[in-house]
């Protein structure tokens, strides 16, 4: 689990780069790069969540709130005040980080169900604020007029350009996170997961590490929110409610939360399921999610990335 899979990362890199070109030549999937933009945006959030939940063992049901904060900071500052988009993105990340620093220490002292409740409560409060502060956020109708991203005159105005931008961020976040996992910090996080008492006996400042990971996850979610806002040029609060936080949990459960790969695979699969493959079920897609989730929890506790391990063990015995 811990050695750097350089080859896997390289193959993945090539696939991601080549994908828009392949999709272009297959009629049925020409619009897949558009779906992949969302998959990338969600991957940014699930990578942070994987570190927090899979590696450190701390549940968070408020990632959607940080996602929303990022989207709205970008949206409000660019559409209302005309500030530079990249600056707003950075402001959003810093602001989300500060909010996480404010909520984190008190929440992360709690464990298990209590942490789930506290983070869920915070998530709902943020979503209520987004809905009700109509003067600032536009309320339930959402806000429009968020500009496209551009860098030194280069406009990210096509799906393909945006695709490469988003996945560049995903790669940066992925590689940074892989390095974190393999560093002393990563060992400290896993130690906290196995036993907080033992970890703190080894001199690990348990709360500090938890808060750091929480802030990191919040900043990634905020970045994802900004990218989302600039891609759609429109945001509305229902995107960022607690049910999305739960959907994120579904993503990493399906992909496998104990490996960073799982975060990307889960985000990708669920995005394609909900944007493309489950259209047939319409509103009943929730039943499919329920069934997937139940089957994965029972039969694949390590998610889809656990399958190779199961096959290997099966062959050996």
């Amino acid at each position: 689990m811990l050695h750097i899979r350089k080859r896997a990362i390289a193959i993945f890199f090539v696939i991601i780069i080549g994908f828009p070109w392949i999709a272009e030549h297959i009629p049925a999937i020409t619009h897949y790069p558009d779906v992949m933009v969302f998959a990338g945006i969600y991957s940014l959030i699930t990578i942070g969540l994987s570190l927090l939940l899979g590696y450190t063992g701390q549940i968070s049901l408020c990632q959607a709130a940080f996602y929303g904060i990022g989207a709205y900071v970008s949206g409000i500052l660019t559409a209302r005040y005309g500030l530079n988009s990249w600056l707003c993105m950075a402001i959003g990340m810093i602001f989300s980080g500060l909010v996480a620093l404010l909520v984190g220490p008190a929440s992360l002292k709690l464990r298990g169900h209590y942490l789930a409740m506290a983070t869920m409560a915070f998530g709902i409060i943020v979503s209520v604020i987004l809905n009700q502060e109509v003067d600032l956020t536009g309320g339930p109708d959402g806000m429009t007029g968020i500009p496209m991203l551009s860098l030194f005159g280069f406009e990210f105005d096509t799906t393909e350009k945006y695709y490469y931008l988003v996945w560049a961020f995903v790669f940066a976040a992925f590689i940074f996170s892989v390095n974190v996992v393999q560093s002393g910090t990563g060992r400290a996080l896993r130690a906290i997961h196995s036993s907080e008492a033992a970890a703190s006996a080894m001199g690990i400042n348990v709360l500090r590490f938890k808060v750091i990971v929480f802030i990191y996850g919040a900043m990634l979610a905020s970045l994802a929110g900004s990218l989302f806002a600039h891609y759609l040029n429109f945001v509305n609060p229902s995107t960022f409610d607690v049910s999305f936080s739960i959907k994120l949990i579904i993503m990493i459960t399906l992909g496998g939360m104990y490996e960073l790969w799982g975060a990307i695979i889960g985000a990708g699969l669920i995005t394609f399921l909900s944007y493309e493959w489950l259209h047939f079920f319409e509103e009943f897609e929730i039943v499919v999610y329920g069934a997937i989730l139940l089957l994965v929890t029972i039969f694949l506790p390590k998610g889809l990335v656990g399958i190779p391990g199961i096959i290997k063990r099966w062959f050996r015995s």
Binding site: K109, Y114, M120, V128, I286, G290, T297
Partner: protein, 300 residues
């Protein structure tokens, strides 16, 4: 005269709050029963309420069964669903942890919600109130008779549970599982049966809550999640696992919502209760009546 209407208004908020709070309390008690016996937080708890309301609509309004038959039939049906939850979602999990159990109950709640949408559609349904809809004037407050039924049923549930857990062998056996499942199985208690029973018991309480709240608020397929979140909060507020805590937590939560939306801002109705819950969690994580030791022991 001015003052009288103010007291009337406050009384109105209090009674509305206590009524809504009674429903939260019943769902929260259901949480506590399952949590105490199995340590599972059942996020499908709200779906029991939804199923109770909608099944009653089918039995009573659609099929025309008299109340005396439709009521127990509904409770029985939802109880069976509760047992199914234990059998299909909880028991097959090989390495249960807090997280996988939360996810399993969430998954089951999705299935129930989808099934309800398939069976009853998306429209809200009404039920006839148990003793009519003629409001009672009381010190300037206007009270629906159904409110008393709701509060009455909460009292009934509380008394029955106190007797069940305090006086009957079965109830004591369940409490023993809550204390220490290994020791309980050593003295010959069928722990798995007790687990199923705890799901059955809290499903039946949820069904009752659903049946009696539907005449006031209507019921539709997607009401479960909100109720589950609120009642989870109520259980936390009172102290997870404590019965009096769950009831007091529910009543407080309902009152905060009612007073908050009446006196401050109805837009932030959902936020008030959660801010209070956050405050309690941050400063007294064990809840108002909870046990500090227990809150520290639980972990992933």
């Amino acid at each position: 005269m001015e003052e009288l209407t103010l007291t009337g208004e406050l009384l109105q908020y209090l009674i509305t709050g206590l009524t809504v709070g009674s429903i939260y309390a019943m769902v929260a008690v259901g949480f506590s029963i399952i949590y105490n016996v199995t340590e599972v937080i059942n996020f499908a708890q709200g779906e029991f309420v939804m199923l109770g309301g909608l099944a009653m609509v089918s039995f009573h309004t659609a099929a025309g069964l008299p109340l005396i038959i439709a009521f127990p039939a509904t409770v029985l049906l939802v109880t069976l669903v509760g047992i199914l939850l234990d059998r299909l979602a909880i028991r097959p999990i090989k390495q249960p942890s807090v997280l996988t159990l939360i996810i399993a109950t969430l998954a089951f709640s999705f299935l129930l919600k989808g099934a309800a949408m398939l069976i009853w559609g998306k429209d809200p349904f009404d039920l006839p109130a148990l003793s009519g809809r003629n409001p009672i004037q009381f010190f300037g407050a206007v009270i629906q008779p159904q409110y008393f039924w709701v509060m009455g049923f909460l009292v009934l549930v509380a008394i029955s549970l106190t007797i069940f857990f305090g006086k009957t062998i079965l109830g004591k056996a369940m409490s023993a599982c809550a204390d220490n499942p290994d020791a309980a199985s050593l003295v010959g208690i069928n722990v798995k049966l007790m687990f199923s029973l705890s799901f059955a018991l809290s499903a039946s309480i949820g069904a009752i809550a659903g049946i009696i709240v539907t005449p006031i608020t209507f019921m539709e397929y997607d009401r479960g999640a909100e109720l589950a979140i609120k009642a989870f909060g109520a259980a936390m507020l009172g102290g997870l696992g404590s019965f009096p805590g769950a009831i007091i937590g529910g009543l407080i939560l309902g009152s905060i919502e009612s007073f908050g939306s009446g006196l401050i801002s109805s837009a932030y109705k959902d936020a008030f209760a959660l801010i209070v819950i956050l405050g309690v969690l941050f400063f007294k994580p064990s809840g108002l009546l909870g046990n500090v030791e227990i809150s520290k022991m639980k972990r992933f």
